[in-house]
Amino acid sequence: MVENIRNRSIELFKQFGLWLIPSLFLLVFYFLPFGNIIFTSISKSSSSFFVVLLTVLSSQNIRQTIYFTFYQATLSTILTLVLGLPSAYLFARYDFKGKSFIRILTGLPFVMPTLVVAAAFSALIGSQGWINTLLMNIFNSKAPILNLSHTLAAILLAHIFYNTTIIIRIVGDFWSRLSPQLRSAAQVLGANRIKSVVFVTIPLIMPAILAAAILVFIFDFTSFGVILILGGPKFGTMEVEIYYQTIGLFNLPTAAVLSLIQLFFTLLLTIIYTRLSNKISKPLSLTSTKSSQNKLVSHKSKFFAGVILLLLISLTLLPLISLIVKSFVSSYYIDHSINNHLFTLDFYRELSINRRQSVTFSPPTTAIAVSFIYATLTVLFSLAIGLPAAYNFSRYGNNKINKILDPLLMLPLGTSAVTMGLGFIITFNKSPLNLRASPIIIPIAHTLIALPFVVRILTPALRSIQPRLKDAASVLGASPREVFQRIEYPIISKAIIVAATFAFTISMGEFGATALLTRPEYTTIPVLIYRFLSRPGALNYGQAMALSTLLMVIVVIGMVVIEKLRILDVGEF
């Protein structure tokens, strides 16, 4: 009896201990900064919240920004659906050679850092981009003919590039599990082709379309790096405005109010999304995808597939390839007089040279080192916090505390990185938590962003180690150490590598929060790319291309590691 009580209290203590680290982290680094944003917007200034709100909303400029945020997000979402839905149909209903490869390929943009994407589109459609260079050569013109940088078109293209995969995965996966017999059944019962689509197919896949569209809208709504670089000064979203208000004008109350407005909408949309995504996880009349997919036989279907695949592949690969090539080609190429060397490694060589002899400017190689250190720290932190949390969820998933903690840990996923950075700035600027000047603040911010992914990867893996598995091993004669070595470790280690890779690539590419928190002496790769891109000159541009290519290679290696271990589908949201 006494033994029993003691065991129970040890168990409770263990649970409490596991629960303590993640909750404490979340409390200090998520809720405290957010409380502070609200607090700042209400009382930091002499006027009350509503006065600030009114001032913010009465500014023509900011009203324009809010309007534009909605406008570009709506337009991007619609255009993404225009390409995404036929693609989803192709993936759902047809089986063809290289399908899984193209699926992975279309998922690639989703993990690309925004700065790489911005640089890649600039390399394709910007004034120094390939299409323009080609046109200038054809027409022998000295002035740029096509320059899409700093246009709405560039922003829209980049958003389509990013989010088509979301439509393909959410709608396509759902559609492929929907039995094609449902449509046949409607037809046998007297519905013609159109009626069978209107009464059966569309109502059934509507929740998936809406869920995917809302998710795309949220991402477009809070888009930062793409807008900052491809939009230029002419186009600002709320996210960009928060950044300018914080960094440029140091108008923290206005930034905080804007954050709150943005947070209100993202939260609203996230709630709708969660509702819908629960609805689409409800089992329908599902079939195995094998029976629902046809080979491309008819000419019509081959033509359809050809067009869609061409669009998908060129949208995905053209910008990225342009980027790589641009980083190796001297842009003197445009000028016919000095057309002597095309291929060059100059931009990569320049990365280690501090040309400006400036004290505050560190050479790119330092930034690369800093990025690696931050990423390593992010991996360590997110595993240190994610493992106990995941262990807790996998063992005691049904207890009350975990049921609260689980969705809370996912919150950073729906929070904009710039807002997070703002929260950090106004919170950790005084003792006892004066981290503002400390470089450690950046890996902490990255950990917050990576944590939802890490926990989502680790929990199912830990859950798959059922106590029965260990029992079975023990009965077969394995000692506790051997049980760990041969059963638990092999199962967890894969998941840990995947989670670590994820955390690593997220940290390497993170821009929004870093842009606000970074200090000149500890610049990261994305921040440096941004600086190079915003400066004039072929050398700066070339170095931006070289750095972006490096970052892309790192992310692709990460993707390959994840795909090889095949634990997680990148499209699982």
Partner: protein
């Protein structure tokens, strides 16, 4: 001729031959059961008749009208799918009413027809139920009701009881049969289960590798299987290659168990080179015409009868003997069995 005429239907999928010259005729009101192993082309045949799949060759006539180019939704045929294909976003009522709505049946008539059907299949008070909350048997009923509601001229059922357990199956077959006979519904029923086929069919069509291998009444098929395939499919396993010689009115068959004289078999052809010893027509002891000595190597009790495996001349013979009046022979014991060649031996083509 009114009814369904299927003429020389061929169908290949990619590089696989599915149907190879299917021809048959169905009278109005008749229940035809298409029986065959999985992969024999049964479902494809239904899909072609329904219009969901186009045949490569051949014609489908309904009441002398060529149907090949009539679109699915204008054929007025019903098809109940193997996994039911109930619309998950509609309740029971809306599922059943779907076909009537497509026909633009007026509201009053639609309601009374759905009520009538719901009464018929015994699902009263289920109208508002969510499809996803139904049990397997309930789903089966709703799917059946849905295909029956628009009064299809021809009803096709694709393994409608496939996923259900034996007891529920037996019950539903009886109900199904009652409804189909009461409404004089012309029906094609596809299954791989011979019990289902025999208890339901006016005519059984046996399909193998896309060909019709036998078409007959259930009783004829069971008593006179035409080929080794049909015999094996019906579970009649004592099939042996034999040399068959004609002599006047009788026939000599040379089997592993000796030469026997039997009356000329109606189905005898030049390709006939197998014989079947019907397992249910043997006797323990030497009461019948021919007696064989054998060793019991296995016996399994199956309620009404008992299956014995007996080794005679290095070959195994399976016997189904009734258990009511005798004790079951022990394993590893020598026994005598006897039979009447005319009743027990049947000649088969391969």
């Amino acid at each position: 001729m009114p009814g369904l005429q299927i003429n020389n239907i061929h169908k290949d999928f990619v590089d696989k031959n599915i149907l190879n010259g299917i021809t048959f005729y169905q009278k109005p009101g008749e229940i035809i059961v298409v029986l065959g192993p999985s992969g024999s082309g049964k479902s494809t045949l239904l899909n072609i008749i329904a219009g969901l799949v186009q045949p490569d060759k051949g014609e489908i006539y309904w009441n002398r009208k060529l149907m090949n180019h009539i679109p699915v939704h204008e054929r007025n045929f019903g098809l109940m799918f193997q996994d039911y294909a109930l619309f998950p976003h509609m309740n029971v009522f809306d599922n059943i009413a779907f076909g009537l709505r497509m026909k633009r049946i007026p509201k009053d008539e639609l309601f009374s027809r759905v009520r009538e059907i719901i009464d018929l299949i015994g699902l009263n008070n289920y109208e508002k139920r969510d499809i996803n909350t139904l049990s397997g048997g309930e789903k089966q009923r709703v799917a059946f009701a849905r295909s029956l509601a628009p009064r299809p001229e021809l009803l096709m059922l694709d393994e409608p009881l496939g996923a259900l357990d034996r007891r529920l199956k037996d019950q539903l077959i009886e109900e199904l049969k009652g409804i189909l006979q009461k409404t004089k519904q012309t029906t094609i029923y596809v299954t791989h289960d011979q019990e289902e086929a025999f208890s339901l069919a006016d005519i059984v069509i046996i399909l193998n590798h896309g060909r019709i291998v036998q078409r007959d009444t259930p009783q004829q098929i069971y008593q006179n299987p035409s080929s080794t395939f049909v015999a094996q499919f019906l579970g009649l396993n004592n099939i042996f290659p034999s040399i068959i010689n004609f002599s006047g009115t009788s026939t000599i068959v040379k089997t592993p168990f000796g030469e026997f004289k039997i009356n000329k078999h109606p189905r005898l052809t030049k390709e006939s080179n197998f014989v079947l010893f019907r397992p249910d027509r043997f006797y323990i002891g030497k009461d019948s015409k021919i007696t064989l000595n054998g060793l019991v190597i296995d016996s399994s009790f199956r309620g009404n009868n008992c299956r014995l495996l007996i080794k005679v001349n290095q070959h195994n013979l399976a016997l189904d003997v009734p258990t009511q009046f005798m004790s079951i022979p022990e394993v590893n014991k020598n026994i005598q069995i006897s039979f009447d060649p005319d009743k027990t031996i049947q000649i088969l083509t391969e």
